[in-house]
Amino acid sequence: MTKAIEVSSLSKSYSGRSVLKELNLSVHEGSVYAFLGRNGAGKTTLIKILLGLLDFEGGQSLVLGLDPVNDGQRLLRQIGYVSEDHAHYEWMTAGELIRFTSAFYETWDTRLADHLSRRLDLRGDRTIRKMSRGEKAKLSLLLALAHRPRLLLLDEPTAGLDAVVRRQFLEETIDLIAEEGRTIFFSSHLIDEVERVADYVGILSRGSLVVETPLASLKDSFRSVKAVFSHETFSVRPPPGVFGFRRFERYVLFLVDAYDERIKRELTTQGADRIEVEPMSLEDIFVELTRGEA
């Protein structure tokens, strides 16, 4: 399977503060990749790097096989981008902005734009200044899709939208893209929307990807393991393969990927009286993996 995005050992810092540290990431073509992280984790930074808007200190990034810095123009022709703030020229009407944007793309599909306009219930004569945030988000989606991009980069596209509009936005996006087998890379910190649409999940914590896996396997393999002890737990050591743990007076909670007999044996050896293994929701996994991050 070819890669739509391939990032290796990518580093980026702002004023000495490291945001991305040796980041490795790959997105398969045709997949819907959810890029999760807490606020300020560096999700927007990575997307801007992929768009060629930001430079980086070390590593490499290839998008659709092109270098975003040196092949920016060629690359941007094949990308649709929706920003978090949906900032448009507020003095334009929706129709003017659509015409203005169409001037940049040879592959602009006017019929598709009209179709999307009707489907998303957008009025061309409406000034953008007067639009609600939901309407602006829909307009952003139209502008990102109408030139039929191979890759859609969405940077927290549903942030600030109410639940109804958020769901509509995501459903429309998936419907429109999936039928043509295009790739979607979207960042978010809203877990429920990810669970609904994503094929792959990458979780960014402290500048690195702590998890990058198909969503289904993530939910299958991650487990919360509660080991109860009859003695104080300060001497309990985490067994190998544990992502994180929290120590309480009489028990320890472990977050493990692929729980097996080896872990159970290790905990028993350390004096565990009882071991309880439970499946985890994506939100629990996300919270546990990013806990303690500034």
Partner: protein, 594 residues
Amino acid sequence: MVRALIWKELREHLWTVLALCLCLVVLKPSLPHLAPEPWLLGQQNHDIAGRLVRTLLAIYAVLLGAHTFGYERSRGTLAYLLTRPVDRRVVVGVKIFVSVLLLVVGGAISTLAINDTRGFGWDHTTIRVLKASLPHFSALVLLTECATVVSCFGGTVAASLVGGSALCLVLVVVFKVLSLGHEAGVPTCLLSALGLSLITMRVQQNAPFSGWRKKAWLTAKTMVPAVALVGAGLFVWNLYLTLFPGPMGAEIVRVAPEGLYVTGWTLRPPLGCLSQCRSYRVDWEGTATRWLKFRNVRVLSVSPDGRYLLAEDFRGLLGFGELRNDVVVLRSDGTECHRISGRERFIDFAWGSSGSKLAFYARQLLWWTGPYQNSMTSNAMLLPFEFDPYDGPRFELRVLTLSSGEVVSVPFEPSVGDREAFSRILSFDDRANTLRLQLHVPSLESMPIVKIGLNGKVIEERTSPKNSVVLPADWFEIESSRNRDWMVLKRQKGPQKAWPFSLGTYKLSLALVHKPSSNETQTVTVSSPDPKDVFFETVIDTEAENLADGRLPNEPQVFWSERYGAFLILTDWTKVQSISPQDRILKERFTIRF
């Protein structure tokens, strides 16, 4: 795509242009009240209204530059624009093109709206308040470019306004104070604008729009060679001029018994900058020798015996103008004899008839709108000054003995007039120790002439009408013979309007006419010059901007010479001709050899 970008830029700048138009609409009715006094119509250099409009255009220019990226950044639309598949050089190029285009449009609107405003109270006269010119336009482009560069570096509109102005000031300081080519104002402006445009484009091509360290590094990398290249070129040019001054010209000439005192220039920038001048003494053979090497002095007057000179010591004011630092009395060898004022003051003076004393007074000026060397010419013109009424006594009349440096105050206070009254020193008889003063009182129709002793007592008092000499229409007196019975008049016609650069032609005529009477108590009417009185005519092509103190560039200078008993005329910066009242034929005298 380019069309779409241009359309967007024009729409975004619409409010800036409308704001300019609104300012002009508000400004236009008030301009006549700000226009100069009628007697200053020839003194276009002091037009307040024109300065106001030019300031407005300068603000507009910075605003256009700051708007280039600052507006997008403030609105958060820059990322949207830069994620379109378009070469960033095209984006920057279109933005700069539209800015410059709107600058031209703004200039045109201002010219059409404001120029040729009728003056308040004298509607028969048209006042030109806007002098668009290439150097002026280049300076506006430079302002726009500076603000554009700052807006590229993450500045919002407000930050770009401040930063752009500061950057422009820095460039002006670098170019002007360090003498990097300020002899050649136009190329400097154009080079700067061109260089900045290229730099802006280069920065945009290579550097992403965040990461200020990398951008600063890339900018430095691209700017340093460009600045070094331009700077080195200008430095070499200045060095060349220093080593080989090239064709010099006589800008200011004063006659002394043994020759001429000349302020010479190698090049004449649109704005005079005295730091580029050199002082020469020219003998009657025309051979010039450097008189003062390092001081930026301009000789105001030479004592009748030629032993002393009254000179102004100027200091360049960051290239924008000149600050008169001191008025000093120098010996003919250039050494300082006496310092008269240490501040920016109006000086009026008269040499004693024997040349051993100097009567003078100096006063702080509140506002100055006209020529100040009233004693250099003897014509009785009104002096458009406004004095600071709180700056000590009105006159502070003093007499300096030149050999000893002793200063004596003359306790004279005119009994007439109000706070704005002032006097001119008409003459000083240092043998009889009497002074003749002419009092000017705006509220009175007459100009009293008093003769006083050095003890301040009035010996004689007469009145003279204000317009004691009535000249024919369009003609101005520029020089009189010593006993004031002959005078040279000047007429200056033009220019023909030709926007945008106001390039036009002036027709200049000089006429030698006889003045019927020199009695100061009467109004003397000088008849209109007969065509045969006109002894010199020339056509001068110039930009309106180049009029300094109402004078055209390379305008012939006329001065009376006792040695020849004739008027000397300096033309083409170096040629000295003469015309005497007796034969009235223009003769070649000598050419100044610098």
